[in-house]
């Protein structure tokens, strides 16, 4: 589905990624773990097209997407959430989610100026679809008209997931979806992620610090440290890998 090959990325002197290679398999949840500053977010940014790697390959569904701009990659079906929520704070929950569906709609400027006709039909269909598929699913019907800035952190994360789902993506990248959440919120989010994988049949790439969550729901784990890929395998393999233990204990010590 998605395969990253020998990715290198640096900012001036900082080497954020040094030869990262892995494959995320269709319909499965792949986790990227590593201490802070390991380069996980940079990897996401390279995959979604914000950072241009110095070297390497990003192949999505058999297509080399290295040269594509972020919006083209999104149009191919790559959606993501951000570590520090990047919703449109002034807009309502509903508008944020509608924005997620941008690439699926087709109204042009003249349709939009006229509204009645194609644009209206499309908007009403979209509204019904969002209500049924996302707002109900994520249990956020009580806040659909609320402005984002009025919502608590946990709900904002959920809305951001909803926005990504509205794209009907084939690859979903979640950057620390439960960071800063309490136990209950974390469990809710884990349930949503599993449901998404099952119901929508989406390939998921997950950056997370919560080891329980990772070990519970992921089928494949990639470990980064200082930009280097130090291990890869099933959760069990990774857990026993000496390099990983070294990295984590070393970082903790």
């Amino acid at each position: 589905m998605l395969s990253v090959q020998d990715l290198h990325l640096s900012f001036g002197g900082i080497k954020a990624l040094q030869g990262v290679s892995f494959t995320a398999r269709r319909g499965q949840i792949t986790a990227i773990i590593g201490p802070n500053g390991a380069g996980k977010t940079s990897l996401f940014n390279a995959i979604s097209g914000f950072y241009r790697p110095d070297r390497g390959k990003v192949v999505f569904d058999g297509q080399d997407i290295f040269a594509l701009r972020p919006d083209r990659r999104a149009a191919l079906g790559i959606a993501r959430t951000f570590q520090n929520i990047a919703l449109f704070r002034g807009m309502s929950v509903l508008d944020n989610i509608k924005l997620g569906a941008h690439t699926r709609l087709g109204a042009g400027v003249f349709d939009a100026l006229r509204y009645f006709g194609r644009a209206q039909a499309e908007e009403l269909a979209l509204r019904a679809d969002i209500e049924a598929r996302i707002i109900d699913f994520l249990e956020i019907d009580h806040i659909r008209k609320a402005p984002i800035s009025a919502l608590p952190y946990g709900l904002q994360k959920r809305v951001e997931l909803g926005r990504a789902l509205a794209m009907q993506p084939r690859l979903l990248m979640l950057d620390e979806p439960v960071a800063g959440m309490n136990r209950e919120e974390t469990e809710d989010m884990a349930r949503f992620i599993l449901d998404v994988q099952e119901e929508f049949d989406i390939t998921i790439l997950l950056v997370e610090h919560d080891m329980h969550l990772v070990m519970d729901i992921c089928s494949h784990v990639v470990v980064l440290n200082f930009g280097q890929q130090i291990a890869e395998g099933t959760p069990d393999q990774v857990r026993r890998d000496p390099a990983v233990i070294e990295a984590y204990l070393g970082a903790a010590a």
Binding site: R72, G90, L99, A112, L113, R127
Partner: protein
Amino acid sequence: MITGNLKSSYATDEQVLNNRWKRLFLWLCIAGLGLIAAFGNNYIILIACQMGIMLIAVTGVNVVIGYTGLMSLGHAAFLAIGAYAVVIFHNAAGAIIPESLLTLAAIPFAVLVSAIAGVIVGLPSLRVKGLYLAVATLSANFIVLFLIEESFSAPWTGGVNGINTPTPNLLGWEMDTRREQFVLIATLAVLGLLAAQNLFRTRVGRAFIAIRDRDYSAEILGISLYRYKLISFAISAAYCGLAGALFAYFYARILPEQFELHLSLMLVAAIIVGGMGRTMGPVFGVIIIVMVPELIKVVFGALAGGGAELAMIRAPIQEIAFGALIVGFLLFEPFGITQIVDRGLRALNRWPFARG
């Protein structure tokens, strides 16, 4: 608290005029315009026409600055392009196209030319943000006027001396009075405002707002920054081109100096005063920006009774008042009059249960 808003389908929830009062307000406005057209005296008609033309332009500027968040200080250039395009079209095509169809062809032509110019001027927006864009558009304003004034274009534009403008003619209806032209201007202004409002109920308008609020987040949702920034520029330039076309029809003669930086600043001032990125913002803003200098003129007229001494200081006072409006609103009510109105309506909605 939302009261009186019971809805039973998503379709009603998606409506813009989602309650009785808003619908009533719209109809009252249209009726008011009708009354002006029927009974307004010459002075009222003149002011209303000026406001209508400004409103169309400011609605366009609101799209690019207020909703898309691209700073522009050069939109007077598009009014100039629209105005001169109409005149040149009439002079060049007058021999080929029958008189009664000329205006119907000239206005779309002017709008189209402006929109294309908008795309060209908008090109820097692909590379630079904010401030750089403000200076790039400001530069474009100077350059467009220069091109109009230069001797190589003088045969078509009249150079610095300006050029006489034609009378509009809609399918044989020759609009040679200001009252008739008011009908045209008011109709287009209302339609323009409604069209702009429609824009923001669809993916196109939402994309603009997304770019304004967080451009990388918009990009990740598949919104092409290149394409939508240029579309935004083109739409706003098209509105300004329409305003320019009406400007040319309305005045007997147009001069390059009417489209200088001051006009660009007026357009921006209007949305700051009215409320950026709000549908009614341009309406309130234009009323204030046009009325304040008029009021000063009236007051001075009453005080001086034609005294030359006082008349001399009128222009500077008007200029200071204009600047003070911008500064005052930025300092004390940065979201403009729309915000004040919103507060008032909210209070009304809650009354008598709560205040404020």
